[in-house]
Symmetry: C4
Subunit: 254 residues, 4 copies
């Protein structure tokens, strides 16, 4: 039994080698998740759903069986993982990890109606499971590199976010004062002006909120052009981060 659990653990827990059986297991689960996401997308189109209802039904049954089996296997074998050795507390600790909660919420909506609870809004977690696609990415060295760059540069990135945040608050409030009387329905409150600010600073520019007063236009023009700098700052930070990490790796090679 112990031995079987050890083997099962090795199967469900990712390693970093593509030759291990868990690479195949991970791939299969992720392919199933991708098909689930595709099913969710297609289900939302009425004309498509109506003509394929039974297909969606049986695919749902099939998916939930596999995912339940996978979830129970992980719950059973997790005690093999260092730090989760305690049969009860280790398992509870695992159950409340975000990724395990997403997995649980993804299968729960199927079972709950049987016990009389309607938590169908939990079905949204079926989409969130797509995050597990990065498990596959973990097999690449590139994912590791990107993670390390973000880790190394997290302070700089945070400060960039702070810049954006302050700029947004200040400019949106100023534009609110400039436009609130001219366009009360679009700039009538600061939250509305913030919506305009975000859409302008990110250079999305839907066109649902456009300043019309001279002061509003001047401020809007400034924030639009500052949007350029906003792209430049994190990009410059990441670019130097990548160069740095690659430099480090090379030094190791020597």
């Amino acid at each position: 039994m112990r031995d079987l659990r050890k083997k099962a653990f090795k199967l469900v827990e990712p390693s970093s080698s593509r030759k291990d059986p868990n690479f195949a297991f991970d791939s299969l689960i992720i392919i199933l998740i991708l098909f689930n996401v595709l099913a969710i997308i297609l289900e939302s189109v009425p004309e498509f759903y109506e003509s394929h209802a039974p297909l969606f039904f049986w695919f749902e049954i099939f998916s939930v069986i596999i995912f339940t089996f996978e979830y129970l296997m992980r719950l059973w074998t997790i005690v093999e993982k260092p730090g989760f050795e305690d049969p009860l507390r280790g398992r509870i600790k695992w159950v409340f990890r975000p990724i395990a909660l997403i997995d649980l919420f993804a299968i729960l909506p199927f079972y709950l109606p049987f016990v009389g609870v309607d938590l169908r809004f939990l079905r949204i977690f079926r989409t969130l499971r797509i995050i597990r696609i990065f498990k596959i990415a973990r097999y690449t060295t590139a994912f590791d590199l990107i993670k390390r760059v973000f880790n190394e540069k997290k302070e700089e990135i945070l400060i960039s976010v702070l810049f954006i945040f302050v700029l947004l608050i200040v400019v949106s409030t100023l534009v609110y004062y400039a436009e609130k009387d001219a366009q009360p329905e679009v700039f009538g409150t600061i939250p509305r002006a913030l919506w305009w600010g975000v859409i302008t600073l990110s250079t999305v520019g839907y066109g649902d909120a456009i300043p019309i007063t001279t002061l509003g236009k001047v401020l809007g023009g400034i924030i639009s052009l500052l949007g350029i700098g906003l792209f430049a700052l994190p990009t410059g930070i990441l670019a130097s981060g990548f160069s740095e990490e690659i430099g480090k790796r090379k030094q190791k090679d020597f």
Copy 2:
């Protein structure tokens, strides 16, 4: 008294260590500023303001008391700072520094009605106080790095801004000539064409001003694609700036 003032000065003046008591003091003031900004945002929503009017009133009283206390403390202790030693001139010099003016204007609107002056538009300075959030950023090494990169590259950034400025003027004037007869209400004056130019060059593209003549579209297309280069130039400059600064730091370490 002197000793007390010295201690008080150390409290209100930021150092670069997170262990000093002023880190806690700064954090508290900034948290209060953040809540003030939140209050300003929520106050602007009529349905929210009306149902929580007393809360906003008492929070305002509380904030102004704290901020006034902080302002007076700074005014009292600033003479401890090198360059501000003169009891009168040092204090006047400090009062007219932009950050101190913002702090003053942020509390003034509360007191002025008592003396019969209505300067409620000064309340906008309460939002500007959010800039003080960068005081906290100063405790990170990243903020220092970003500041040094901008300082080192300010000439290059200025020339990028010059490029944008010249491009805007030239293209907007040309589009003004191309579109003024076809769309007099949108491109009828050069300032209006400049508004179009800014919104297009920054790739915001609201859609309130769109060239319709062939010449206008050709010029608009060119400026749109040049907008890409516009992002590339400052980004490339900053990226190399970050790499350079990090390189310098490493050399120091050896």
Copy 3:
């Protein structure tokens, strides 16, 4: 005959020297392709087509003759190329290469009507032939550099694409749930929400789909600002890639 074929092969097959006769041959073919693309563009304008119909007709005849001649020459000489030596299998292998298929489909629509088949939609391949412009780019060292950077960084680029993909799916599904009741015609299905997601994340922001609920706007604002990071990631990767490749080249020079 063999000798002639060898010479003809050298003519149609690009080398990397600008002095070879095939550089002139390539240039001529590409100029003809460019004129063809121009013709396709102008043909689509009714007022222009009607007044120049004979010109378009004779230019088409002329182009097809040249392109047919070029295609047959390549088909004849390809056996000179290593790996295509077998007179039959080598030629079949070549015919099914994408670039050869595009060349074939580009001339086919002209001949098929004679044998009673109407495949005029194949004319679109005449435009695709513009890809052959990169044959000229191959004579530059820059093209080679860019290709190597993309090759070196393909794992990182793939992971960036994966990030975009996951972000798109997750945010679009969430916004679908937030907006589907408020705007069924715009956000009524997940594919429609995905269209919104792509247009917002890429910061294009047409304005045909705009969230109006509070939750939708918050999610929209987040995805807009994340759009900035989205530009930063691949740019940082490419920037470090270029620095790396240039560094390698320099080391070779020593």
Copy 4:
């Protein structure tokens, strides 16, 4: 006379030292150009022009006198410049240089009405003179750096432009086929589809042309996301270019 001409030449011809008298001369001319550009912008606003007509008139007279004087001085002294020694041919050679033509066209519209010719559209060249602002930029080392980076990387930039060009042609033609029947007024000809393509690829996204067919939306989504890569490529090139140039400069210093 010779001596005077030599001195005059030194005055009007820029050097790279900020201490020379020509720095002051250049600055004055550029300040006058900037005021001229401001005048052109304000003149286009009817309500402003009407109330300040005499001011604009006398400022025009004053500017033209100065610019004419400057032009004649350059014409007179240019023979001092190496390569322009011949009194006639050197001067003709100089007159036809683009920057000299712009200067000529900027003053010509004032004189021509006297001889009965109306070339008022030449007034647009008064705006183009703003390009001379880069004469001042020439005094900075940053301008030189940027110029050298663009020079060094011109092949890579050209290939990026080629990518954009090919992508635009191919995608716009495909979207033209997808949308021409559904929206003949917006996508009815390839030039119109190209307008959509430019506005989408540059992520401006006005919203005047939006694909509505499924195929059109899929193609539009792809080109929008590729727009990101489009920003990444030239940015990465420039970033590595700046790092390289700075590296070279350092090596010189040793």
